[in-house]
């Protein structure tokens, strides 16, 4: 499967990945220039957290081999795709129980601000599975690599 590989030492905390994720998943049409940065509906699936020593730790969904989130999902919304190894999320099935939020050991899933669904990485499926965060990283702290599923 393909995974976003993280080299946290390269991360400068510009959170361009964050804004790229928001842009990639916005519901209305538009460019990065008119992305509403104050609309709670524009949420990012990733974040970079500043560590005690001032360096950054990019927190991105790993699409785990044995995903805790999938195991906890009682609506069938989250699945581990047998073909591409990604943990997919079907918003229409989600019951917004947020058990997945409680079970991701890395804190990479969060309830949507609307509390109607979750916010989780979809590997930018709509853009041909080429994650926009990766494209947006000026430091190349994240890149996509083929790994064993």
């Amino acid at each position: 499967m393909r995974r976003i590989i993280i080299d946290y030492k390269k991360c400068d905390g510009c959170i361009n990945c964050t804004i790229a994720c928001m842009q990639a998943h916005r519901e209305d049409e538009g460019t990065i220039y008119d992305l509403d940065l104050t609309d709670p509906a524009n949420e990012s699936r990733n974040k970079s957290v500043r560590a005690e020593d001032g360096t950054y730790r990019p927190l991105f969904c790993r699409h785990c081999k044995e995903p805790e989130c999938v195991m906890t999902c009682m609506s069938g919304a989250l699945r581990k795709d047998a073909e591409n190894g990604l943990v997919t999320y079907d918003e229409t099935r989600c019951a917004a129980c947020f058990m997945c939020v409680m079970h991701c050991p890395y804190g990479t899933i969060k309830p949507a601000n609307s509390l109607q669904k979750i916010i989780k990485c979809d590997f930018c499926a709509a853009d041909g599975y080429e994650p926009n965060c990766v494209k947006a990283c000026p430091k190349k702290a994240i890149h996509v690599e083929e790994v064993e599923a």
Binding site: R3, I4, I5, I6, Y8, V49, R50, A51, E52, R57, L59, R62, C64, K65, E68, M71, T72, C73, M74, S75, G76, R79, R93, A95, A96, C97, F98, M99, V101, M102, H103, C104, P105, Y106, G107, I109, K110, P111, L115, E145, V147, E148
Partner: protein, 413 residues
């Protein structure tokens, strides 16, 4: 190899999928009373009309066809371990090489008055319960919910959504007594009250008064108070469904007894999910089903992720979760932080987190679960405890997956 699975809920379905992963050609038979596979955690959404029967199905599209699982809708009345087969209500005998009992649990209806016999009293455990409640709700106005645990509050919520007058009776002095502390429970109680719910807390049901047609129309409490009701939903706990094992040698206490590999005292018979009484929550049932399945396929694996003190709720736009101990001990330090939208509470003993309650903002909760169940020492982290995140334990494996980095600690998982 011929695998038979009793039950089609979280543990049973997970087991079937896991077996198929390892054994492409094995025969898998699933026996269940249910007409439709459904998620028990979403029944209230059926009653509130947020979901239909199809919407309760948690399996992937064409699960039984794709995974080649034979589904028999019937009831197992006996396990004949010597003949290695199960006996169905229909009289049919289904042979197995390996058997998984994942029959779950049923609602416990207390033996008070006519509760067990009246036909307007329901548990909230099966789709059939929800369908009956839904039907009753078309005409009923006054709904009595017995038990203010999570299932009871789900039922109350659903009935409010249907526009019913809801009364909740609870023995404890506060709602959600197992899940929440008094402070966070009050937040919900106020919300429910503002929507018209009446709570009778710290009271017991003393007797029932039935009207014509075998329906309870009024209950009397230990205080002498009366509550009129058209329909009663009992959410006073569950009991493992093991009555069909009465004549079998499979050992059971409150639930079926299993070893670390989830095998019962009888070789080739396994049990997983609520029927074991190990926990009553979905993710644990899935894990148990998965682990049992692996053992049934000859892959020795122990069920270790036994942590079950966790749950989550989402009512009226307020989410809350708890993990670990809510009742604090004397040797624990409790830290809280609270604002307009958020209440957080953490208890710590000897540098380790023992319990967490998050209300209003549950982001990052998985990290807390990991800290609690692995008893990770956080005393070296000097920042505000509520800002702890996985970033403090960040480490990446060669294949890009994360792992928890903690000096000198061995993790169970």
């Amino acid at each position: 190899m011929r695998h038979v699975i009793i039950g089609s809920s979280a543990a049973g379905i997970a087991a079937a999928a896991e077996i198929r992963k390892h054994q492409k050609d094995a025969v898998i038979v699933m026996i269940s009373k249910d007409e439709h596979v459904h998620s028990r955690c979403m029944l209230h959404k059926y009653i509130s009309h947020e979901r239909d029967v199809k919407g309760l199905d948690f399996t992937e599209e064409n699960f039984f066809e794709n995974q080649k699982v034979d589904y028999i809708q019937n009831e197992v009345i006996s396990v004949l371990e010597d003949e290695k087969c199960v006996l169905l209500r229909s009289g049919e005998q289904i042979p197995y090489d390996k058997l998984l009992i994942a029959s779950g649990a049923g609602s416990f209806i207390p033996p008070i008055g006519d509760l067990r016999t009246a036909d307007n009293v329901f548990g909230m455990r099966n789709l059939s319960d929800a369908q009956a409640i839904d039907k009753m709700a078309d005409s009923a106005q006054n709904v009595l919910v017995i038990g203010a645990g999570l299932a009871g509050m789900d039922a109350a919520y659903a009935m409010l959504e249907r526009g019913k007058k809801v009364t909740v009776l609870e023995m404890s002095h506060r709602i959600l007594p197992v899940q929440l502390d008094a402070h966070s429970a009050e937040v919900y109680q106020r919300k429910f009250e503002s929507k018209g719910t009446i709570f009778y807390l710290g009271r017991r049901l003393e007797k029932t008064i039935s009207g014509t047609g075998g329906q309870i129309c009024r209950v009397v409490l230990d205080t002498g108070e009366n509550i009129d009701c058209d329909v009663i939903i009992v959410a006073a706990g569950v009991r493992p469904t093991i009555d069909f094992l009465d004549k079998s040698k499979v050992e059971a206490g409150r639930g079926i007894l299993v070893d670390a590999c989830l095998q019962t005292n009888i070789r080739d018979i396994y049990a997983a999910g609520d029927v074991t009484g190990l926990s009553g929550i979905w993710p644990n049932a899935v894990k148990q089903g998965t682990v049992a399945a692996r053992n049934m396929c000859g892959i020795a694996e122990k069920y270790t992720d036994t942590f079950n003190e966790k749950n989550m709720m989402n009512f009226f736009g307020i989410v809350t979760l708890y993990l670990g101990q809510i009742c604090t001990r004397k040797d624990e330090v409790v830290l809280t932080e609270e604002d307009r939208n958020v209440y957080r509470r953490v208890s710590i003993r000897e540098g380790k987190v023992t319990g967490v309650l998050l209300q209003g903002d549950i982001s990052n909760a998985g990290v807390w679960q990991y800290l609690i169940k692995n008893e990770i020492d956080i005393s070296h982290i000097k920042k505000n405890i509520f800002q702890i995140s996985y970033a403090d334990f960040f480490s990446v494996k060669a294949d890009g997956e994360y792992r928890w980095k903690c000096e000198g600690q061995n993790f169970k998982f």
